[in-house]
Symmetry: D2
Subunit: 340 residues, 4 copies
């Protein structure tokens, strides 16, 4: 960590500060320029709080040299983490596809979609039971009943299931869920993250709408610090000034994360743009980017039902997408595992 | 609501859609151009889901004409709402100042700061007990004990207290808190908002880091839809591309909110820039913008302690700020109420 | 175009406005709701100025239904445009690669790089002669001499050349340049765009740092409105809140542009992230996204020279990238043309 | 400047680099940690190019400690600069108001508006002759004739004039213009800035839509490096994710600029939000922020004419605003100079 002092800092303030750092077990390298004094702190600075340090009246700025996350850091753990979610391996050489409707609606619907996506080659079933909606007047999901229906679909097809948690009190509902999703809006719901850190369930952590990659990794760190190492990151588009798409897919987050962390990274092309016709091209870029998988929205009848959004594929479109994605995953030497 | 159809939409699809809208009790005005057909929907469209409508294959886009929030909407409730928080009136002609440290540290500290800010004319005491920190390795607050110490400070000074809630299970801790803060990171923690909607406590709802004004009002609507009308909005800076300040204060949010909603609006200049020297000028713009109050971080000894950030004023700086702000509030004919 | 009137608009104001529109040859469809009156304007609204219309005191908002660009619009021109730049075909089934140094430095350097990138299979040579630098104290390019050296490299290798124009007075220098680049910072330098509209040279129009796709297409429209239809668009990353990369590559811009316009679209992965190690993965996503080509920075000796940035590949790295990209372009059935 | 090396950097590479820096006249302070080696460079680093340095394979990152601008830097020039524009003093204790229409339309119009704004107390007249329009099909301004009409209005009222330049070839038209505006879209049109640096005319430099404060000061530096020290900065709103206003006024830019530079800073509340009703509250925040003046759009007949936008005040509204602003400027002890 580097601490840059104001050029008017008094000698005694400098010595006092250096003393404080040394008491904390840090080695301090002092560099005095004409206009600035720079302290280089050597040792474990992970407990130093940048905001606190910046608060000193004679500190001009503080710059971190090493990353503030440890468990998630590839430097500390060079090998790829492979998360086992209900038998599906995510990370490493594997490429996985998760598919299903935005919301679970009926037993018939979810089982039909589950069979369709399984037939097309998806590895896991997604479906929303607890739905984070911007408006309190929008459909909030079938809640506990939705999870029950997902479990029926799992029984019928053998596909492991993924669904979102919004409330740490409902963790019991998720006992048989294979992969628990934390949505973008809860990426910094730290109490929820802590609770999940004490679980041993795989967690799918979506990126917040306007969160930096470092903040995202710090949220993964919250879960990992509690003992749960089974974290998968999911890029789903960030908020920018552009208005012709709902969000802007940050595809460069994938190679950046691959460098910074050993955790698996998947891409959600459905939420990224919010436009179904854009799902296939964005899915193709995700495969090429080095991502470990895809999460895609599929609805059995988007045209008839009042129940699905602008971003869902129908089963035929999904099947066509899977044909393409399988070829591409093979091209990347990361074949999609066949369903049993 | 306006629904714009693709220019290749078949006659029968148009009639089918019109029929569906009419069955929902809406009147439909059909306008056919050379390249587009436009449906104007007249009536209560608040239950129509834009995402669902946009999902129809022949729908090009959907544009909302009326606001999706009702309880928070000034059109439905033209008079300013005045929230009574522990005897302090927020909104209307009143200008209020909330002050105190980022975190509660010790009984001595919080009582000393409370007396200092009271002497300078603050109306309420703030202090963090549960702290949302980006890093799991940073100090997470004194939690329940922090609230106990705030209540001691309230007893010692008579100042009502404000503190942040992060977990709906901890609502019991807040029984004697006068104003419950929902932080920026939880602005779309919908389960927490719903829970607070069933409380009768005044709620201070901070804007999310990258949330639009409409999303913010929809989060207020979540609380109000549950029956709790005591919501105060707090602008605290948004995330932009600028890097020389922590966030960018969106001062224009104040007049915009004053037009759209009847709820009180206050400004937090401390978190907005993250720089203590910038608190006074930003506080001045807040008074001039028509805001109903300020929330300012004050620490009794930022220079000695390892416990406070770059954004806190010391009591002397706060006293100087209050002298200035009092003059300005009077200039605006919105005097700060004297403490009893 | 849809004009939404304030619900208190007087009957006579509505009739007056309708009359004005009808005089302009537009048909007006009137839709009166309880709270709003909506005018649907049918006919050629491309000359109506949204800002002007919005200025009327009783107009609440104006929403455009059809795109404001014509020449660039795929609806008016469904076939892909193929631009011929010095014999290289850009657009359609072709995939092209442009490579070369950020700045032209010496005759030796530019000829060496040109030969290297040609050997690796690049179709065109890029090199900066006039350099847009944030600081007036940074190297501003060799200017006219830089173009002379590029022409030497063209003579030596046969590669057509691309270089940036910053000043409409210098158009004469570009007489033998095959493709003229307009940089991100000049995307809305409208006088420069108009001047280039009167030229018949192919133009490579980079996206501005924080410009929407619609604004970008309007800048292309400026050039095309002057008669020059040879415009190629280049996505090079946009500005967001993220700080661990210089810019955020907006890969979704590629499929969106492919839908909206018939113009060719290429991707610059070097400027997008500003990090040389990230060029290969981003280039891979560009091929998968459906882009028509790549523009990549290559320097012959990044490690020794004080002359190149964090984003350049050396010739060996570029050669390795080309081996990969060739396979991928073939996979997409869009082979890179061989050099003669 | 601080250079952070990769932890695997070889001893000889470190020595080589240190040698290079020393040859450039810099003193190097070497600090070796377990994981990183840090070089602190002491001396004049303004010519070092961060991008070049970052390009070295063993350099992890480079952090600037001192600002890259000199002429604009308050550290080098602590006193406020006061620019004299046609007799109006901008900066220091003065508060100035510039007003007038978006576009010059007719002699009658511009003279009428000029007299109106003069009567209300404006110090300068603004009016667009060359108009930067997003669409090539929108009105592009009266160009040279517009400037002639502005000069007529100047003759009629005595008000000095401000108008925008878009093309360095048209500098002759501006011979009698008192203050030349560089618009947001040309903030990084470096050739235009260089040309204006050789002029002795006062320059009003608007902030680019998504430019940082540092980039803005570097553009001021371009003008000043050429010898022209008469630069005034104008904040006019930045681009964010918010959609209910055209731009987001960055009011915190004013105190930040006042700290970083000695140049005058004014605020344009008309372009910031793009909504006329929001001009008065934003103007009030500008006065309170410490700005040196305002630039406001006023049109003599926004309701009748097809010639003005959503953001203009009519003369009566402007007169009311001026009454308010005069009181506020006096409150700040920065009275608006009376017109002669």
């Amino acid at each position: 960590m580097i601490v840059i002092l104001n050029h008017k800092t008094k000698k005694e303030d400098v010595s006092h500060l250096v003393g404080e750092f040394e008491q904390m077990g840090l080695r301090v390298n002092l560099s005095e320029g004409e206009n600035t004094t720079i302290l280089g702190l050597i040792g474990d600075t992970s407990k130093l709080d940048i905001d606190v340090l910046s608060g000193f009246p004679f500190v001009e700025s503080v710059k971190r040299v090493s990353e503030p996350y440890k468990s998630a850091n590839r430097k500390m753990h060079p090998e790829d983490t492979i998360v086992n979610a209900g038998g599906v391996k995510i990370g490493g050489e594997n490429f996985c596809v998760i598919a299903g409707p935005c919301s679970v609606e009926t037993e018939e619907q979810i089982i039909e979609v589950a069979q369709d996506v399984k037939n097309s080659g998806a590895n896991m079933l997604r479906g929303g039971a607890f739905k984070p909606r911007t408006s309190p007047y929008s459909f909030q999901g079938l809640e506990g009943e939705g999870i029950r229906l997902l479990l029926e679909a799992k029984k019928a097809t053998g596909l492991p299931i993924v669904t979102e948690i919004m409330n740490l009190n409902y963790l019991d509902f998720f006992a048989d869920v294979d992969l628990i999703q934390v949505g973008a809006r809860n990426m910094q719901n730290f109490d929820l993250l802590k609770e999940l850190g004490h679980s041993d369930k795989p967690i799918l952590l979506k990126r917040g709408l306007a969160n930096t990659i470092e903040e995202w990794l710090m949220s993964a760190e919250y879960i990992m610090a509690g003992g749960n190492k089974n974290v998968i990151l999911c890029e789903r588009g960030i908020r920018t000034f552009e208005t012709c798409m709902r969000n802007t897919l940050d595809i460069s987050a994938v190679p950046m994360l691959k460098k910074l962390t050993h955790l698996p990274v998947i891409v959600d092309p459905s939420h990224a743009a919010g436009l179904s016709w854009m799902v296939p091209p964005l899915a193709r870029t995700a495969v090429a980017s080095g991502a470990d998988g895809l999460m895609v929205e599929v609805h059995n009848n988007p045209a008839k039902a009042w129940s699905d959004g602008a971003q869902s594929l129908n089963p035929a479109q999904f099947d066509e997408l899977m044909t393409d994605i399988k070829r591409r995953a093979e091209f990347e030497s990361r074949p999609i595992a066949a369903n049993k």
